[in-house]
Symmetry: C2
């Protein structure tokens, strides 16, 4: 096991009816900026519940945060904070609203140029406004981690940062709030969480029995309950387990003391940049092809994955690995997610563009051993056609 630090100060309030706990979590004298995305939070009644729970506090609202939250939009929220002497931020939504709120919380307190947040990968952040979240979409894990990705439309760039100052003070996770989500969003959320787990698991063994076992539990839970969550949207326990799994998939716990990959994410981002394919669907395309291509370096963990996640224990090593990759594709298919580039209109001609984009962003040594060069990425993408 590798050395690690683990520190996660976010308070989780999980379960039915937890929005009513907002009153105890948001300071009584707070001036609150309530941040949200499109119309769904209003339509589903979540915002009405939140407004009621905030009682007599002064609340200013800032809606319209985009699915890939924009830099320019976030800066407008910073202006609203300064104009209204806001003291607490409350994000109501999924990963996009929460990611935007992290950036806004940091930018509002930054001395100097906010652009430094990105050039320093978050290191420029010395403090951030306190913020809480009410999660409506289980997927990204942003509700219990310090990471964020902001899109700069004019530069055509997705800009990640992380800072220990950007953990939510609290996050409310009420599985019932997810009942009204469109099936496509549930499928994307499950796939996103699944690949978050696998990026921290499918590398090389470091004798981390606990982290491996936890990751396998989370994957089995998603395999078992992901399709079910789409079929029976109002099944509380199914939604509860999916929601809690997505949070634990990327809150630091399973990634502590083990190598990380993240190549599927980096390659996938460039596919989204090319033609706006949903993030999770790019992962479902890249991951199986990457598993196939990296079956040498990832051999031991692929065999462990086959046995412990899919219960594949018969046949030669290669046959078991093949079966596990097929099972992974079939899991995505069961949730209506296609796993070939061609399914998203990406043909051989675009492969070189994607590889060139990776190179232009410095993504030339990806994966847990930094051996996924542009040539390897091209091979993976070609296998994914």
């Amino acid at each position: 096991m590798n050395n690690f630090d683990l520190h996660n100060p976010t308070r989780i309030l999980f379960g039915k009816g937890r929005i009513s706990d907002l009153d105890g979590q948001v300071p009584a004298d707070a001036k609150v900026l309530l941040l949200y995305g499109g119309g769904s939070a209003e339509r589903t009644g979540v915002l009405a519940q939140v407004r009621a729970a905030l009682g007599d506090r002064k609340v200013v609202e800032f809606g319209g945060i985009e699915p890939n939250p924009r830099y320019a939009t976030a800066l407008k929220a910073v202006d609203v904070i300064k104009e209204n002497d806001i003291t607490f931020l409350l994000a109501v939504g999924g990963g996009s609203v929460i990611d935007a709120t992290k950036f806004i919380a940091a930018a509002a307190e930054l001395e100097g140029d906010v652009w430094d947040i990105f050039t320093s990968w978050g290191g420029a952040i010395k403090s951030a406004m306190p913020f809480g979240t009410v999660l409506t979409l289980p997927a990204t894990g942003s509700e219990m981690n310090p990471a964020s990705v902001i899109t700069h439309a004019e530069k055509g760039a997705k800009l990640p940062f992380m800072s220990s100052h950007c953990y939510p003070v609290f996050s409310i996770l009420d599985p019932e709030l997810t009942y009204t989500l469109p099936p496509r969003q549930i499928a994307n959320g499950v796939a996103d969480a699944f690949v978050h787990i696998i990026e921290q698991y499918l590398t090389y063994p470091v004798a981390a029995a606990v982290q491996d076992g936890f990751a396998e539990t989370l994957m089995r839970t998603l395999i078992d309950l992901g399709p079910k969550a789409m079929e029976t949207p109002n099944d509380y326990d199914t939604r509860a387990n999916v929601m809690w799994t997505a949070t634990l998939a990327l809150n630091g716990l399973i990634g502590a003391g083990v190598p990380h990959d993240w190549a599927s994410h980096m390659i996938g981002h460039e596919i989204t940049a090319l033609n706006d394919t949903d993030h999770a669907r790019t992962l479902a395309v890249v991951l199986p092809a990457l598993m196939q291509d990296q079956r040498g370096p990832k051999r031991e963990k692929l065999l462990q994955y086959a046995a412990n996640v899919w219960n594949i224990r018969e046949g030669s090593d290669d046959a078991r690995i093949d079966a596990a990759i097929d099972a992974t594709r079939n899991f995505f298919h069961a949730m209506g997610i296609d796993t070939r580039l061609g399914d998203y209109g990406v043909g051989p001609a675009e492969v070189d563009r994607i590889v060139a984009a990776l190179e232009s962003h410095g993504m030339v040594a990806l994966g847990e051993t930094k051996t996924i060069t542009p040539d390897v990425a091209r091979r993976i993408l070609t296998a994914a056609l």
Copy 2:
């Protein structure tokens, strides 16, 4: 899944050589009280490493904290704090030193009578001094939780409390520090952690797939590595997995959103009070007898335990449960821990004394459904003879 709150602010610094990180964790201007137990921390060189890492800070030392830390001893430490204007506490040791430090941290800041800490079960604590820990014995989980048990010798009582103010600010977990532990202490630590897990798992199902899977991972890890940790004390990865498992066994994670039992602990405490049997060994005696007695109410989870922890999948329901109970006993035996009251000199005549002690402490409705009355406890103890 039941509703839950989860908030654990302790920073974990895990791995080889982490004592050197003390300098970055303890405030530079702190006046430190260094707390420890008997002579082992000195003999093994841990204290020397800690003193070196603290550099030029003013450090006062307070050794001699007992294995079952005493109320009177802890109050002496409070006096030392006040006499020396101490601002930070550093516990070096196992659960006893850390438990004592929690009480000392709270008592030093309490307005009014420190005894209120116990009568209020910790509710009287409104603040506590900041403290860190350097863990030398994986067992109790105290290094990442807010609970403590103090012994009042004159009253013959073990006094528990918990408070959200009593989380360590940080805990250093270096598996190499455990190499020198006597085998008996490793065995006790593994058994204690195992029963911590099972108290939060072996109840009735609430569709908590994640918590169940995590608990099963932790139990399998201890079953696999507990005996090995005794045979090959200097195997880093074995000690690392045991250490991390013991912490996760009782840090709130696997207990979130599920019922808890704790009857084995409550009954076991009275055996320790009777004849000073090691805490972990009392658990190894009570647990198998309790499983046997409660095979009706715990049926579903016992079958899940047999299948997922012991891979027992053949035979009738009762045969699988019997096999799982036998396997549990054999696990304790493999670490040199006896599992019958008679092995510890407790005969039929003492059963009534233990039951009377439970009654006198108000422990008359134990377990996840509060159905373990004194009569049931007597039945369990008789079966454990």
